[in-house]
Amino acid sequence: MKYADEYRDKEIALGLAKTIRAETHLERPYRFMEFCGGHTHAISRYGLEDMLPNNLRMIHGPGCPVCVLPAGRIDMAIRLAERSEIILCVYGDLMRVPGSQGASLLKAKARGADIRMVYSTIDAIRIAEENPEREVVFFAIGFETTTPPTAVMIRLAEKKRLSNFSVFCNHVLTPPAMQNILESPDIRSIGRVEIDGFVGPAHVSTIIGTAPYEFFAEEFGKPVVISGFEPLDMMQAILMLVRQVNENRHEVENQYSRAVTRDGNLRAKEEVSDIFELRDQFEWRGLGQVPYSGLKLKRAYAKYDAEVRFGMNELRVDDNPACECGAILRGVKKPVDCKLFGTVCTPETPMGSCMVSSEGACAAHWTYGRFRDHQQRRAS
């Protein structure tokens, strides 16, 4: 398709690909993890893998807030939505995420739960205003990027004195998850993949800045390049990582300087820290409990906290034991290494987190890349 877009120029892309090939040393592997699902999606959709040398491998990290939401949290939301007084507002891509035993919000809606798909937090506020006799709960989800809008919404509800509005908070933080990939007890059982560098998420960094990643660069000796989501951004970030590796550097570099600064958006950060506080633990699908990786509303805002307001109990559900998500999210295995891939687990019937949203590693490979498996088989 003819996108007249400066970030998708084929000639520049081919030029970058050539430079990357020229600068990578044949004798060593380059293993880079893109943390964010948006990057995974871009890599698959534009077929970037075909443009990179064979000894450079992109490892798809856990960075999709939909994928990492554990089945238990979905079950909690379904239970909530089944209460007759409640209207649950959710983003469309959560509708198909499987809870336990094949349950999903889409199915709960079909059975009569009042679940409304919204496109922005403002819609949820509007629905609360239009339905004063009902309880409206917004299913809040996302990384650092989507937390400020939730904060703004709570402020707005306060200002409008809405007494029938609350938030089911599932906001999570990226740095603790990145750290978990590099050092967590599970690594002993599933093994560790060597990661030579990270492509850092741009949208997250527009809020939190690049500074939180400096810790990785120093503590783990891993280069981090914050990258935009256009395919050219990615190619350039990969080249920047190759150069750091070649020069034995491990710094935080910013490819996305058109929007990201070291400190990020101070106002947004303040707003978030006013309203939210860290949870001691939060479960990530595929990663398990990750300390200090999730947010909840501060006690002062308890009346807007659906978990408090409706006495929601934490539900825990085990994923299918055959699912290899944990190993895939850490880059130890590839989607095709999972027995369930493409047989019982497909985007229509996702079993694990990586297949849930189009940005998950398994879904991206299934949707855009699986022809390569057959090519490889034929070649070998």
Partner: protein, 346 residues
């Protein structure tokens, strides 16, 4: 037929349950609104069915339900869509569409004025496609039991002798042609959905393709293997279906696929892929390589095929993959959509 005492108050009135009851009010609605809009000799006879002559050749028949929301969108409404969709399904067989039926399920409270606009654009769409709406049905359901208005249309047409377009006809080496830009209808509809209103100039491509098809048939004859209109599910679903049915794969060139910049931008914003977005006035033709040039030229010579393009070819592939060389230089699969196309959040 003129024995009704009062005329419908089209400007201010609305449909109530009596308009579906089979009594006078219903007759009034049908003659005052639908017959007026569709006006033809068959309807004028006022029978519960219509008899018509059948020429030589094989008959083609199709039926389809229309439940679009919103009912009015840039570039058309549910009425014109209901005619175009059914005409196109017939035309894709290489057939000449002749007659349509139309059945209306109307929610109590629906405004006459809107119904009239819709009926008139159905009449207009039928006239310009050269078909007649010769029988119909009207039901009124209680408020809350339908989303305003549902229409279902059926159509018949005739395929010339010796012509047999079918989904299993694609052969390795065949070219894939499309008649114009993709995704216009889906984006036009989405831009008007509640909660999602965004600014765009894009209008639906809803159109009857039978005339375009007739020109293509003259140029390509039996070199045309099959045609499909990529409606819901978009080009991706259509090609995946054909790949399975014809036991081939497809290789597309992303660069060759026409998409309007506004459609590309809206898709980008919503996290959608234009290849999955619905069209209502486009067709895909799989044609033998020898006639591809002639068919393409014929398409481009028609107003509805001005942006027609040759976007790829059928290849041998046991896995029936639809693969695409991206405009960026890589490769990927063009898969079916899983579930409904839902905007993503991140």
């Amino acid at each position: 037929m003129k024995a009704y005492q009062r005329k419908l108050d089209i400007r201010n009135g609305c449909v109530d349950l009596s308009h579906g009851s089979g009594g006078r009010a219903m007759a009034q609605l049908i003659s005052g609104l639908f017959h007026e809009a569709f006006g033809n000799e068959w309807l004028a006879r006022g029978n519960d069915q219509s008899a018509f002559d059948v020429g030589a050749g094989r008959m083609v028949m199709t039926t389809d339900g229309y439940v679009v929301s919103p009912l009015f969108f840039p570039g058309g409404n549910i009425g014109s869509l209901a005619v175009h969709g059914t005409v196109n399904d017939i035309a894709m067989a290489g057939a000449k569409p002749l007659y349509l039926s139309a059945s209306f399920i109307i929610e109590e409270g629906f405004r006459f004025a809107d119904l009239k606009t819709i009926a008139e654009s159905m009449g207009e769409a039928a006239r310009s496609a050269g078909v007649h709406i010769i029988t119909g049905d009207t039901k009124v359901v209680e408020r809350g039991k339908a989303d305003g208005l549902f229409i279902s249309t059926a159509g018949v047409g005739v395929v010339p002798d010796g012509f047999d377009l079918s989904a299993e006809n694609a052969r390795v080496g065949d070219r894939v042609l499309i008649s114009g830009t993709l995704g216009d209808h889906g984006v036009a509809i989405m831009s008007k959905r509640q909660n999602l209103a965004f600014e765009t100039e894009i209008v639906s491509d809803s159109a009857a393709l039978n005339d375009l098809v007739a020109k293509m048939v003259v140029a390509g004859g039996r070199g045309i293997r099959l045609m499909r209109d990529p409606t819901r599910g978009g080009l991706a679903a259509t090609l995946n279906e054909i790949a399975l049915q014809s036991d081939v794969g497809f290789h597309l060139q992303e660069e060759a696929i026409p998409v309007k910049p506004g459609v590309a931008a809206a898709c980008e914003l919503l996290g959608l892929d234009p290849l999955h977005v619905a069209n209502e006035g486009k067709l895909v033709a799989i044609v033998a390589p020898e006639v591809a040039g002639a068919v393409l030229a014929a398409m481009r010579g028609h107003p509805l095929g001005r942006d027609a393009a040759d976007i790829g070819e059928a290849v041998a592939d046991d896995h029936h993959f639809v693969q695409m060389a991206t405009s960026f230089g890589g490769g990927r699969i063009v898969d079916w959509l899983s579930g409904e196309q839902l905007p993503r959040i991140c």
